[in-house]
C-alpha cells in the first residue's frame, strides 16, 4: 500500500519543473501571450528533450510507455508555470486515442512522431460532451463535414483528431481544414474552430461501434485539465502566501491578520486534497479501469470548483496588485478559468458522474 509518487515520478516532476523555472519565467509567458504564440519553438523543443511528449506513447512506438499519472505530473508543472505550449490535446488525448483505437499503420505513422514532438495533434471532441452553435461533424466515405468547436491545441496543430457525431475518431490534416483560432481569456493555449467540408479523413478503427475510445480520450483530457488547474492553483496559493509574508499594512505583515491568514488556510485546506484526487484519477485510468471514468469526472469537476475559489481568493490576498497586470497573477487566474470550461463545465461533468453510477 503506497499512495505516493515513486522516485522516478518525483524526478520527472522535478526535471520538468526545474526546466520550466529556468526557461519559462513569467516574462517568457508574457512575451508569448502578447505575441499570440502558443507553441514557441524553444519551449516546445526543450520539452521534447525532456521526453514529455513520449510519456503516453508505448515503448514499441518510440515512447517511454509511462502512465496517466506521469502525464498528470507534467500537466501540473505546465499549469504551475502557465507554460504556453500544446499539451492536453497533442500530447495526452491524441496518443491515448491512437494507442487505444488506432490501426497498426496509424500507430506506426503517428505515435513515434508524437513522441519526438514532430507532429502536433489538435483534438476536437467538444460535441461529444455538448454541442453549441451547431457544432458537430458527420463522417461519410472517408471524409468529414461539419464544424468542431474548441479543438484543443487546434491552432498549433499539424494534424487533427476529430470525433464525429457517433463518437468515432478520425485523423485529418490540419492543412485540409479551415482552422480558426478562438481567442479566450487564456492566451497561453490555443483552442480553435475547425470547419470541414468533405475533408479527407481516416477513421481510427478501434473507435467505431462503441464510444469507449472517445470516452477514454475525454477522461484523459479531463484528468489533465484537473492536473493543470492543480498546478496553477498551487502556484497562486504559493504566491499569495509569499505576498502575505512580505506585504505590510497597518505596520504588520498582512499574513499576521487573521482574515488574511484564514483565507490562505482555506485555500490550502481546499486545494491539498485535490492533489490526492488527481493522483488517484490518473492512477485509476489504467490500474482501476472500473473507476476510471468516474474519477476523471470527479477530478475535473472538483478541481474546477476549488480552482475557481483559489484563483479568486489568491487574487484577493494580493489586494489591488492582484488585479493589475504588474504581477501577472492573472495568467494563472485565466488558465484556471479556461480549464474549468473545456471538456465540460462542472454541472455537466457532475451529471455525467451521476450517469456513470447509474443515478440518472
Amino acid at each position: 500500500m503506497e499512495f505516493a509518487l515513486n522516485e522516478e515520478q518525483r524526478m520527472l516532476q522535478e526535471s520538468v519543473r526545474g526546466y520550466l523555472e529556468a526557461s519559462c519565467p513569467l516574462d517568457r509567458v508574457r512575451a508569448a501571450a502578447d505575441a499570440g504564440d502558443t507553441r514557441p519553438a524553444d519551449l516546445w523543443e526543450g520539452l521534447v528533450d525532456l521526453g514529455v511528449h513520449a510519456i503516453l506513447v508505448p515503448e514499441e512506438y518510440g515512447g517511454v510507455g509511462l502512465g496517466h499519472l506521469e502525464a498528470a505530473l507534467v500537466a501540473e508543472c505546465l499549469g504551475g508555470a502557465v507554460a504556453p505550449v500544446p499539451y492536453v490535446g497533442s500530447s495526452v488525448m491524441a496518443p491515448v486515442a491512437l494507442a487505444l483505437a488506432g490501426s497498426d499503420a496509424q500507430k506506426d505513422a503517428w505515435l513515434p512522431r508524437i513522441a519526438r514532438g514532430e507532429t502536433v495533434f489538435g483534438v476536437g471532441v467538444t460535441e461529444q460532451i455538448g454541442s453549441r452553435e451547431s457544432g458537430g461533424v458527420a463522417a461519410a466515405g472517408g471524409t468529414l463535414t461539419g464544424k468542431a468547436m474548441f479543438v484543443l491545441d487546434g491552432a498549433d496543430a499539424d494534424m487533427l483528431l476529430i470525433a464525429d457525431r457517433d463518437g468515432a475518431l478520425h485523423i485529418a490534416r490540419a492543412a485540409d481544414a479551415d482552422v480558426k483560432r478562438l481567442p479566450t481569456i487564456d492566451r497561453t493555449r490555443s483552442t480553435s474552430e475547425v470547419s470541414l467540408e468533405a475533408t479527407a479523413a481516416e477513421v481510427l478503427p478501434g473507435s467505431t461501434g462503441s464510444r469507449a475510445a472517445v470516452l477514454a480520450t475525454i477522461d484523459a483530457g479531463r484528468t489533465m485539465l484537473a492536473a493543470d488547474t492543480l498546478g496553477a492553483a498551487q502556484n497562486m496559493l504559493d504566491q499569495a502566501i509569499a505576498y502575505a509574508k512580505e506585504r505590510r499594512q497597518f505596520n504588520r505583515v498582512i499574513g499576521s491578520f487573521q482574515a488574511v491568514k484564514h483565507l490562505c488556510a482555506e485555500m490550502a485546506a481546499a486545494l491539498e486534497p485535490c492533489r490526492s484526487l488527481v493522483w488517484y484519477a490518473a492512477h485509476a485510468s489504467r490500474a482501476i479501469p472500473d473507476e476510471a471514468r468516474l474519477m476523471a469526472c470527479h477530478a475535473k469537476a472538483h478541481l474546477s470548483e476549488v480552482g475557481r475559489f483559489v484563483a479568486r481568493t489568491a487574487t484577493e490576498v494580493h489586494g489591488g496588485m492582484g488585479f493589475t497586470d504588474l504581477l501577472g497573477l492573472h495568467y494563472w487566474f485565466k488558465r484556471i478559468g479556461l480549464d474549468r470550461q473545456l471538456l465540460g463545465a462542472p454541472e455537466i461533468v457532475r451529471e455525467e458522474a451521476a450517469t456513470v453510477q447509474g443515478w440518472v
Binding site: 502578447d34 452553435e133 481567442p183 497597518f250 505596520n251 479568486r312 489591488g320 470550461q341
Partner: protein, 412 residues
C-alpha cells in the same frame, strides 16, 4: 409601506421622462473616456439648466441651486438609467463637496464652476503602492521650500490622470506627526513639471487606471485645502455624504435579466439552458439574493429621504452588491460553457479588438467577472468592509493596534 410615489414626485418623474424624450438626441454616448467632448459639455450645461446635474450646488458656483431632495435625485438617476442616457455629473463627487465644505471662497469660485461644466477635469491622488487598505500610511512627501511644497513620491489607481487638468492629492507634510496628523490635501495642475503618468493595465487587459509619479513637483503652499496636517480629515469630511456607489442593486437586477434572457436563448444539444434544473435552481437562488438587495436599497433610500442614518442596510451594500455581481458573472460564464471563455485581447501586447467569433455580449461577462473581483478588492477590500461592519455597525471592538515606528505618536 407605500411603494407608489406621491403626486409631486410622480409629476417630477413625468417631467424628467418628457425631458429625456425630447432631448435624447443631444445626449453623448453613454461611456466615454478622455476629456469631455464638446457635445458632452453642452449636454452637461443643458442638464444643469434643467436641474438634472449639479442640482444642489449653489447658483453662485455654477450649479442649479436646488434644495437637496433625495427622492428627486433618485428619480433623475433612475430615469436616466432606464433610458440608458448619459447622466450628468456634479463635477467630482469627492472634490466638489470637499471644496464646498472646507475650501476657501476663492477656491470655490476658482474650481467649482469649470469643474461642474466639465471644462476642468480632475484625478484623485490618494492610494499609493505601499498604502492600500492602510491609506493613512501614505508616504508621498511634500517639503516646504520657500512658498512652495516640493512633492516626491508615487500614487496609484489615478484613473483619468492621463487627461485630467488637475489633481487633488494627499501628501505627507509633517513626517514626525502621528500618521493621521501629518497629511495635507493639495490641488495642482497635472501639467506641473515633474509629473509622469504611466498607464496601469489590469487583469481585464484595459488600462483604465494609471500610476502617477512625482519628482520635485513644485506647488505653491496656497494650493492647500484646509490646514497643514489636516488633510486626512479634509479628505474624510465628505465621506458621510457619499451614497450609493459600489454595489448598486439596479445594476445587479439588469444583469440578472440578461442572464435569464441568455438562458432562454442559448442552447446545449439543442435544449435551452433554462430547461436544465440545476442551472435553474442556481438562477433562482441568485434572484432571491438580488431581490433582497433591491428591496434593501429601497429601504436605504427611504432612510435617506427621511434624513435618517440607514445604518446596517447601508453598510452592507458594497460587500453584498459586489459579491452578488461577481456571482452572477460566474453563473453567466458557467452556463455559456466553452463559449464563456471567449475574450478579445483588449490591448494585452498591443492587440486590440480582434475578431472573436461566437463572442457573447462583447466579452462582457468575463470582463465583469474580473472587474467585479477588482471592485471586491478595491474601495476597501471585502476584509476591510467586514471590519467596518463588525466595528461600526455591530459595535465589536477594534483589534489591538501595532505601533508604526515610521510615524510619531503611535498608530492611533
Amino acid at each position: 409601506m407605500d411603494l407608489a410615489y406621491s403626486p409631486e414626485y410622480a409629476a417630477f418623474r413625468d417631467e424628467v421622462r418628457a425631458f429625456l424624450d425630447s432631448h435624447r438626441d443631444l445626449a453623448p454616448p453613454p461611456m466615454q473616456r478622455g476629456k469631455p467632448s464638446e457635445q458632452a459639455k453642452a449636454w452637461q450645461q443643458l442638464l444643469i439648466e434643467h436641474g438634472y446635474a449639479a442640482r444642489t450646488i449653489p447658483k453662485e458656483y455654477g450649479g442649479y441651486g436646488a434644495e437637496p431632495d433625495i427622492l428627486k435625485s433618485h428619480i433623475i438617476a433612475e430615469e436616466f438609467g432606464k433610458a440608458r442616457i448619459r447622466p450628468g455629473h456634479d463635477g467630482d463627487n469627492r472634490l466638489v463637496p470637499t471644496l464646498l465644505e472646507l475650501g476657501t471662497e476663492e477656491q470655490k469660485r476658482t474650481y467649482i464652476p469649470p469643474t461642474i461644466r466639465g471644462e476642468m477635469t480632475w484625478c484623485q491622488g490618494y492610494s499609493e503602492p505601499g498604502s492600500g487598505s492602510d491609506l493613512a500610511s501614505l508616504s508621498t512627501k511634500a517639503e516646504v521650500d520657500g512658498d512652495d511644497f516640493v512633492i516626491n513620491g508615487q500614487k496609484i489607481w489615478t484613473s483619468g490622470a492621463q487627461y485630467a487638468d488637475m489633481i487633488f492629492c494627499l501628501v505627507r507634510t509633517e513626517p514626525d506627526a502621528p500618521k493621521h496628523q501629518g497629511i495635507s490635501y493639495l490641488l495642482f495642475p497635472m501639467d506641473t513639471p515633474g509629473i509622469e503618468v504611466r498607464p496601469l493595465v489590469t487583469m481585464t487587459g484595459e488600462a483604465t487606471f494609471n500610476e502617477t509619479f512625482f519628482t520635485d513637483v513644485r506647488v505653491p503652499t496656497s494650493q492647500i485645502v484646509g490646514r497643514r496636517g489636516e488633510g486626512w480629515f479634509v479628505a474624510n469630511a465628505t465621506l458621510k455624504h457619499e451614497r450609493g456607489g459600489l454595489g448598486d442593486p439596479n445594476q445587479a437586477e439588469s444583469r440578472f435579466h440578461q442572464i435569464v434572457e441568455m438562458m432562454r436563448e442559448e442552447t446545449l444539444d439543442g435544449e435551452p439552458l433554462l430547461s436544465q434544473a440545476t442551472y435553474r435552481d442556481r438562477l433562482v437562488a441568485l434572484q432571491g439574493q438580488m431581490l433582497a438587495m433591491k428591496f434593501n436599497g429601497m429601504r436605504v433610500l427611504t432612510h435617506n429621504v427621511r434624513d435618517e442614518e440607514p445604518g446596517l442596510p447601508r453598510w452592507i451594500v458594497k460587500l453584498n452588491g459586489c459579491e452578488l455581481n461577481h456571482r452572477m458573472a460566474e453563473m453567466a460564464i458557467d452556463i455559456l460553457g466553452e463559449l464563456g471563455v471567449l475574450y478579445p485581447s483588449k490591448g494585452f501586447g498591443g492587440h486590440r479588438d480582434e475578431d472573436v467569433p461566437y463572442l457573447r455580449d462583447a466579452g462582457f461577462w468575463q470582463q465583469r467577472y474580473m472587474m467585479d473581483l477588482g471592485l471586491i478588492i478595491g474601495g476597501g477590500t471585502a476584509q476591510i468592509q467586514k471590519n467596518m461592519i463588525g466595528e461600526r455597525a455591530l459595535g465589536l471592538p477594534k483589534e489591538p493596534k501595532v505601533a508604526d515606528p515610521r510615524f510619531g505618536g503611535g498608530a492611533a
